[in-house]
């Protein structure tokens, strides 16, 4: 039996929930933007922001510099808003449609009081809306705000107005402009001064409706001396058509604050022939605004037909630190072009990049990263390590590290390796009584261990399982 036979993992989360939704008409125009804003009872300034972004978006063309191959997206053939129809006004999470509760339970995310996981608060987003957030009361008591961004716009307009779009402006790129015009739900987190958030916060994104784009928006603000650990997971049904996901995540860390942001991305990746799957065009960026602030991105990208994603850090505050830990696994016909940008502005700023790309079958996996040391960034330091692993001989891996140093006190190190799972490693492990599947997953997990150890424990277990599942033999 060959290595290849074991690589066709089946997607466990490909089911569809048949639930009544309210869709807007297909396509995008100014009316749709107004409609989205109206639906959410937004203030005028936000509608103006959306319209400004929409007008700007109209002047742009999709970026083509990435190492990705796909037909043009017809932006008029997408629904820009889909929401499960509420049966009644929701007072608490226990009023949420049982069908939705059941869906999230099936995904391993129990929401109801009795069943939910202690120690992790969850905001569950279904298509364009948040259907519920757990642990809100306990968090409120210590001043932590954790709710859907729609709720935050209503309840905390000053905070939103102060921070929204400050890290990723609507002019940032094509998909950021689109998101700024039509963004739906996502999560908002505010950690007040001096508070170390005692539980992990997480958002679970589920795309369900057909031909619908998901444009979530997440904003995390960590005030002076605060700390938060935030986790994010995503899945979608199996469909023969491609679906667009264009999110924006903005993080802001003030003086001495620390944000850890971890993602396990398992959107539907398309079938073995490369049909269907999510187009994942995401702009994630964190601003280390304050002195001594820290932001770390940890991502396990194992889904999506296309991944275009560069979680980045702007290291503005003196002594601030940015970290990026990434595992990107592609199989079948998946394509990933992912990496990070570390922009050093403040003095003594430090960044670390650890990227592990695994490509199997006919997939393509690209690391693209920028380390930029501005003239002001005296004594900046960066360490980058980008490793690729090839499984089989039809896949590809590329590394594009861009380094731009404008201050000669900087220290920038870059290391890169490419390796293959070889027959000798497989035979060695097999001869110790482990089957082929297990051997491959052991080798791959070992390869990723530097990144996995950055994840919170439950997430790290999930990530190992996810990688195992992705590499699993579909015939079982």
């Amino acid at each position: 039996m060959s290595t290849k036979d074991y690589l066709d993992g089946e997607y466990k989360y490909g089911f569809y929930t048949d639930i009544e939704t309210e869709d807007f008409p297909k396509g995008i125009n100014e009316d749709i933007v107004r409609l989205i804003s109206k639906k959410k009872n937004e203030p005028q300034w936000l509608l103006d922001y959306r319209l400004k972004a929409f007008k700007y978006w109209l002047t742009l063309t999709p970026p083509s510099w990435a190492h990705l191959n796909f037909p043009d997206i017809d932006f008029q053939n997408i629904y820009y808003h889909a929401a499960p129809k509420p049966k009644q006004k929701l007072e608490s999470i226990d009023d949420v449609d049982p069908e939705l509760i059941a869906t999230f339970e099936k995904l391993g995310i129990p929401l109801t009081e009795q069943k939910r996981i202690s120690g992790v608060a969850v905001d569950a987003v279904f298509d364009s809306v948040s259907v519920g957030t757990t642990h809100q009361k306990e968090l409120e008591e210590i001043g932590v705000i954790f709710c859907s961004i729609s709720e935050a716009i209503e309840k905390y307009p000053e905070l939103i107005k102060k921070y929204l779009g400050t890290v990723v402006p609507h002019t940032d790129n094509f998909y950021a402009a689109l998101n700024s015009a039509v963004f739906s739900d996502g999560s908002f987190v505010y950690i007040p001064k001096g508070v170390k958030c005692p539980i992990d916060l997480s958002t679970y994104f589920r795309i369900n409706a057909k031909e619908t784009g998901q444009f979530e928006r997440t904003l995390v603000v960590a005030d002076v001396d605060s700390y938060v650990n935030y986790l994010e997971g995503c899945t979608a049904p199996e469909r023969p058509e491609n679906q667009l996901h264009a999110a924006i995540v903005e993080l802001i860390a003030l003086d001495n604050a620390e944000i850890k942001y971890s993602t396990v991305q398992n959107w539907y990746a398309g079938n073995k022939e490369g049909k269907g799957g999510i187009y994942n065009f995401v702009t994630k960026r964190g601003n280390c605004e304050g002195i001594n602030s820290k932001i770390s991105w940890t991502q396990v990208e194992a889904g999506s037909a296309i991944t275009w994603k560069y979680p980045s850090c702007i290291l503005k505050g003196d002594n601030s630190q940015g970290k990026f830990f990434s595992v990107a696994l592609t199989n079948n016909h998946m394509q990933a072009d992912t990496g990070t940008k570390m922009i050093h502005i403040g003095k003594n700023t430090k960044s670390t990049i650890i990227s592990k790309g695994i490509s199997a079958d006919k997939s393509s996996n690209v690391y693209r990263g920028l380390v930029k040391i501005n003239p002001s960034a005296t004594n900046a330091r960066n360490y980058s390590q980008c490793d690729s692993m090839l499984v089989g001989d039809q896949c590809g891996a590329n590394t594009y590290p861009y380094i731009d140093v404008k201050n000669d006190t900087a220290t920038v190190e870059h290391e890169a390796t490419t390796s293959k799972i070889n027959e000798d490693q497989l035979f060695y492990l097999q001869s110790r009584g482990l089957d082929m599947e297990k051997c491959i997953s052991i080798i791959v997990s070992g390869f990723c261990s530097d990144v996995f150890k950055e994840l919170p424990l439950e997430f790290s277990v999930e990530a190992v399982k996810l990688i195992e599942m992705k590499l699993e033999n579909s015939v079982g």
């Binding site: 492990l429 110790r432 089957d435």
Partner: protein, 250 residues
């Protein structure tokens, strides 16, 4: 334990084994000796099921639950679960994979197959203790990545540790003695001797007579050009040491 009949095998089109005949009974230790390129390592790998080697003729039958069963169609891991262990001449590095975690995974996989209960982390640690002492291995050895950055001697010790833990019915050691100093050699021998029982068998593939000072084989076979050309008792090793192989090869 194992019977090998008229075994022919090739790799990349070259026939290496050309009719091996070998029967090993439970409790026996056999040494396979011979000049470079005679097919010793190939024989070891073929028994363990290395996918690069193609068996073109012959049989390998192994004792599974008291019956001699052909294992030629079995995957390497299936053979391992039935109790065949191959100690590698060049142990492979598996970066990032915790040594003790891997060892427990292998142990539990084999235990489960043989109907025994696996062990949790704590039990396994206790279970390992006397084995580490026997082989004079430091605890810190366990937390490193499998063979990564190990010295040649450490790698060989790790093989012997795996063997002692997995407690195979048939251990095949492929030139485990090469590159070891005499202290390390003694430790390897201790490991092998600790497994000796009337139910287990060992095949020592070796170049030198040296190892046989510490492990007493019951039989010695000389391999040349893919065939066993001479078999004898342990005194044959001394004769080979004194006379080399030339007198056997015409």
């Amino acid at each position: 334990m194992i019977e090998i009949k008229n075994l022919h095998a090739k790799v990349e089109g070259n026939e290496i084994l050309k009719g091996i005949e070998l029967t090993i009974n439970p409790g026996e230790i056999h040494a396979i000796m011979g000049p470079n390129g005679s097919g010793k390592s190939t024989l070891a790998k073929v028994i363990a099921g290395h996918p690069s080697y193609e068996v073109t003729a012959g049989e390998i039958n192994f004792d599974i639950n008291g019956k001699m069963v052909s294992i030629l169609e079995q995957e390497p891991y299936e053979r391992a679960k039935e109790g065949i262990f191959l100690g590698f001449q060049y142990p492979i590095e598996i970066p990032g994979v915790n040594n003790v975690g891997f060892l427990r995974e292998a142990f539990n996989s084999i235990c489960t197959h043989q109907g025994a209960k696996g062990m949790d982390q704590k039990e396994f640690k206790e279970f390992l203790k006397p084995k580490l002492e026997l082989l004079e291995i430091d605890d810190s050895f366990l937390d490193r990545s499998v063979n990564e950055g190990f010295s040649g001697g450490e790698k060989k010790k790790n093989e012997i540790l795996q063997m002692v833990v997995l407690n195979p019915k048939l251990s095949i050691l492929d030139e485990t003695d090469s590159g070891l100093d005499s202290d390390a050699l003694k430790i390897v021998a201790k490991g092998v001797n600790s497994l000796k029982s009337k139910y287990t068998s060992t095949i020592l593939v070796t170049h030198y007579q040296r190892l046989l000072n510490y492990i007493q084989p019951d039989f010695i076979h000389v391999l040349h050009d893919g065939k066993i050309i001479k078999s004898g008792g342990k005194e044959l090793a001394l004769e080979l040491e004194a006379k080399g192989y030339d007198w056997l090869i015409k």
